[in-house]
């Protein structure tokens, strides 16, 4: 199925008549030819020789089949006709590189698209849109993941597999191994490919069809001539067969030249008598026998990758090319239609090559250049940038080629065809760089993007020097390209000021009308880049403003990838302020990514992190687990330290709330590296760090807590440090010390203005008050903590830092935040519930709710009368409950009871560890 690329590609159009939809076969948006598995057109099936002996081999094949042989040996034709004959066309996906390296992501996108076109695949495969910088492994992994769900056999045919880049071969090797057995591979190429096939061979999974197999037998040659309507006596056929040595292309050419020939036998004899190469001789024969208009068309369109009636008319200077192409397609196997509507055609590469030789021999050089020129203009007008530039280059029209490439460079790059754009750049002779400042600028852009800083700077210098020589109307474009290159380099260097300057420059150019052609795209890039750098530098408000603008511009320009980048950064920013908003934006980003199949891209990992951490905060643990797992998987590469920190922290909190102590500690420990990279510029890293100190201290992991505090200390404001110290003091049992440390913090309006600091401060205070025996004070302070937690529904800090007893008391005595309290208590209960579910020896007789309530007070210093007052019960009742608790736990003292209860998971670790 032809590329189902959504959005993203408005300026580089698909192959097909401008107003018609994309062809079912043909080049897709990625420039890769993807053939819809309908197989050869019904007509040609009749004319195709059914090579049964080879069909049998293909039908009995193992998981992987290779078809290798020289050009023109009939490889593709064989596989296509086999699929058609075996009725497998609905179950086969066909991908061909056709010699152009569009890069690894583009290849796997095409594979996914093609598989999505099969009957089985259509139910599973979702399209992935091309975008710049897609991670090829991520795309490939998605393909693998989708493949895992197959149960019906599906064939993936990769044509011209020997032309795949090393990178793709690497990935393909892996796919061959990990693909499930319903997926069958057919690899067609001119030579063996380095894919670890020997292992497959050893395991009997490999079927190889080689050159000698592909040679036509005499019987098959007979059939070929018969189906072409050529009548030859046996001896003559034998001669031809011997002369061509069973070479498919040779036989077909022979058939072409002999069709309608009154005395085929004479020609056959004549031909076998020559020493000429088969191809050259026969092509000459074939051409000679064509009517003038056909010959003219064949020759003059031979230099095109794709032929279209309109374009052919242009090049031949006539009308009616469409009819000729149709007739050609019907008559011979060297011209194939790429779509059902027969708007686009392609010549067999060998045939085209030979035609081109003939063209060059028969037409003066200038004429050939004119053809290239005309083709270039036509392609450019119809939105096929890559072909346009190629032909301009072939014409030696460097200025035109530079202009065309420059005009389409951003569109190509943003549309995920960066590799093709880079190839085009490389095809310019080095001498042209000095002559064309715009070309130098494009080199600079390409290199800055790849990180080749010195080369980029050198080219920038060349371009800037030549600025004045550039015609006035192109100067704006030159400046723009250079500005984007500078911005890209600045980002790479992390030079925030340079990024700001660069963005300002772009904005200036855009507003000065220099970017009319690209509309909002450049501005969008500028805003997104700028915003990202500002997030990094901690300039929140500026970042938000610019990202918002970038997002709107990207939307307007139809560039979903840019929109996604902006949205993800906005989500990250929002999360720091509000869990709700962060979740909303993060979910939005993920939905956008899903629409385009970008869910596994590392950039999206940041969105998963944001949403996951918001959910954890609100104690929505099951949901959070899913999101955090996704984040962990996608971010495994390690390039996004802030998200790593957020995810590690969230994971730690999650596990702590679930009572999985070791997992929690390990997760917190894992944050060290990411935190080290982020300090000192990221306030969020500091915030998370201090929160971890408190949580770990409460869990009794004092060593780790102290280590983290030591890291943070130089960056902490006085009261932030005091807050952290308070938690440590409390965990060491020094409640008065903790209280003293905490006192100024509780008065510090500025620190407390940030709710997340507020929650921690007041929650810690609650624990301190409780440890000092001040139940009323604890309860009061808790209300303030709840106040801070309410906006974000920040349940987890309450669960981890506030003693359960206080929460219960508050719930009973009434609070402005009953919902929040209930949620917190439920989370606490679930935690204890989880623990008891994992308890080594469950109680024979479980504790009743009332008994559990009393149990919660046992770790405190409160005597029974006090507990009674807390719980609004009589002292007698409390004592009874306590006795029952002791009985059921099989203990005789409070401390034993607490210990046992903890071991059974009936009590969480708690902030107060001493009774």
């Amino acid at each position: 199925m032809v590329g189902i690329s959504r959005g993203g590609e408005q300026s580089t159009r698909d192959v097909g008549a401008p107003d018609a939809g994309p062809p079912r076969r043909g080049r897709d948006r990625h420039g890769l030819a993807v053939v819809h598995p309908l197989g050869p057109e019904p007509d040609s099936v009749n004319r195709t020789v059914l090579r049964r002996r080879l069909f049998d081999r293909l039908g009995d094949a193992g998981r992987v089949t290779t078809v290798t042989g020289p050009a023109g040996s009939g490889k593709s034709q064989l596989v296509r006709s086999w699929l058609a004959e075996a009725g497998l066309t609905g179950d086969a996906a066909w991908v061909s590189t056709e010699g152009s390296d569009e890069g690894a992501p583009a290849f796997w996108i095409a594979v996914a698209d093609a598989l999505a076109g099969t009957a089985a695949g259509s139910r599973r495969f979702t399209a992935v849109s091309a975008a710049p910088d897609l991670d090829p492994w991520a795309v490939m992994e998605r393909v693998l993941a989708e493949l895992a769900t197959l149960d019906d056999p599906v064939w993936l045919v990769i044509d011209e597999a020997d032309l795949l880049s090393d990178e793709v071969l690497d990935q393909l090797r892996r796919v061959l191994w990990e693909a499930p057995s319903p997926l069958r591979f057919v690899l067609i190429g001119r030579r063996d490919m380095d894919l670890g096939l020997h292992r497959l061979r050893l395991e009997g999974e490999l079927t190889e069809v080689r050159a000698s197999d592909l040679q036509f037998t005499l019987a098959e040659a007979d059939e070929l001539f018969a189906s072409a309507g050529v009548e030859l006596p046996e001896a003559a056929t034998a001669l031809l067969h011997a002369r061509t040595e069973g070479w498919a292309a040779g036989l077909r050419l022979a058939a072409l030249s002999l069709a309608n020939e009154p005395d085929p036998e004479r020609l056959a004899v004549q031909f076998s008598g020559t020493d000429r190469t088969v191809a050259e001789y026969l092509v000459a024969e074939v051409l000679e026998r064509q009517p003038d208009d056909v010959r003219r068309l064949l020759l003059r369109t031979s230099l095109l990758e794709l032929v279209n009636g309109d374009l052919a008319d242009l090049l031949t200077g006539s009308e009616g090319s469409e009819r000729i192409l149709e007739a050609l397609e019907e008559a011979n196997a060297f011209v194939s239609a790429l779509d059902q509507r027969r708007a686009w055609y392609r010549y067999h590469p060998l045939f085209a090559e030979l035609l081109q030789l003939e063209l060059r021999a028969s037409a003066p050089g200038e004429e050939v250049r004119d053809l290239h020129r005309a083709a270039a203009e036509w392609y450019a007008t119809h939105g096929h940038a890559v072909e346009a530039v190629r032909h301009a280059q072939s014409a030696g029209d460097w200025s035109t080629a530079v202009r065309m490439l420059s005009d389409h460079f951003f569109a190509l790059y943003l549309g995920g065809r960066g590799a093709a754009a880079a190839d085009l750049l490389a095809a310019f002779p080095p001498t042209e760089v000095a002559r064309h400042p715009e070309l130098a600028a494009l080199f600079a852009l390409s290199e800055s993007h790849r990180g080749s800083v010195e080369a980029a700077e050198w080219h920038m210098a060349v371009a800037t020097q030549g600025e004045t020589a550039v015609p006035a109307e192109r100067r704006g474009r030159l400046k723009t390209v250079l500005a984007v290159a500078r911005l890209s380099l600045a980002r790479r260097r992390g030079d925030i000021q340079a990024v700001v300057d660069g963005a300002d420059e772009l904005v200036g150019l855009a507003e000065g009308g220099e970017t009319a052609v690209l509309g909002g795209e450049l501005l969008a890039i500028a805003m997104v880049d700028l915003g990202a750098a500002e997030v990094w530098a901690g300039r929140r408000e500026d970042a938000e403003r610019h990202l918002e603008r970038g997002r709107r511009l990207a939307q307007g320009a139809g560039r979903p990838w840019l929109e996604l980048l902006a949205l993800v950064d906005l989500a990250v920013l929002a999360r720091a302020r509000s869990a709700h908003l962060g979740e909303e934006l993060g979910t939005c980003a993920v939905e956008l990514a899903a629409q385009h199949g970008w869910e596994d891209e590392p950039e999206v990992g940041n969105a998963y992190a944001v949403v996951g951490s918001a959910m954890v905060l609100q104690a929505r643990f099951d949901e959070a687990d899913e999101w955090l797992s996704r984040a962990e998987r996608v971010l495994a590469g390690g390039a996004q330290p802030l998200s790593e920190l957020v995810v590690g922290n969230a994971r730690g909190l999650l596990e702590a709330c679930r009572g999985h102590r070791d997992a929690a500690v390990s997760a917190f420990r894992g944050c060290q590296r990411a935190r080290a990279q982020l300090l000192p510029t990221q306030p969020r890293a500091v915030r998370i760090g201090v929160s971890q100190v408190a949580v770990l201290a409460g869990m009794g992991e004092t060593a780790l807590a102290e280590a983290i505090l030591a890291e943070l200390e130089p960056l902490l404001a006085t009261n932030q440090a005091r807050l952290a110290h308070a938690s440590l003091l409390l965990s060491r049992g020094d409640a008065p010390g903790a209280s003293e440390a905490l006192a100024p913090v509780l008065e510090d309006a500025m620190t407390l203005a940030d709710d997340s600091w507020g929650v921690q401060a007041f929650a810690t205070a609650t624990a301190v008050r409780t440890a000092l025996g001040d139940a009323d004070g604890a309860s009061d302070v808790l209300e303030r903590a709840l106040g801070c937690a309410a906006r974000d529904d920040a349940v987890v800090p309450l669960v981890l830092l506030v003693p359960a007893a206080v929460l219960e008391r508050r719930a009973r005595s009434g609070s402005a935040y009953t919902t929040l309290l209930t949620t917190t208590l439920r989370a606490l209960a679930r935690r204890e519930g989880t623990d008891s579910a994992r308890a080594p020896q469950p109680l024979v007789e479980p504790l009743t709710d009332s008994e559990i309530r009393v149990l919660r007070y046992l770790p405190t210093n409160l005597p029974s009368p006090e507990i009674a007052r807390e719980l609004y019960l009589s002292v007698h009742t409390v004592r009874t409950h306590t006795r029952h608790v002791f009985d059921k736990l099989g203990v005789h003292s409070r401390s034993e009871a607490v210990q046992k209860a903890r071991a059974l998971g009936l009590l969480g670790p708690g902030v107060i560890g001493r009774s």
Binding site: A71, D275, T277, A279, E280, Y281, A284, L354, L357, R360
Partner: protein, 81 residues
């Protein structure tokens, strides 16, 4: 073989393919001269580097020609033309 500076030096090559290449085919190999011998064609010429050599071999393959021989010709042993 490298020159004094250690850069790969251009070399003279003889590439032999099956059958006689006519003028059309020969024009696909600019920079190489073709001589016919019994049932084969010898393409001779100087190629700048390995990349150029492989480009020629690829072309041979593209055109469906059969490669019979590939020789690097040392300056002293250049055969009769």
């Amino acid at each position: 073989m490298r020159d004094d500076q250690g850069a790969p030096a251009p070399g003279r090559y003889e590439i032999v393919v099956r059958h006689h290449l006519g003028p059309r085919m020969l024009s696909a190999f600019p920079g190489l001269t073709g001589t016919h011998r019994d049932g084969a064609t010898v393409l001779t010429g100087t190629l700048q580097d390995q990349k150029a050599l492989y480009a020629v071999l690829a072309k041979v393959e593209d055109l469906g020609l059969e490669l019979l021989e590939l020789r690097r010709v040392m300056p002293t042993e250049e055969g009769p033309r």
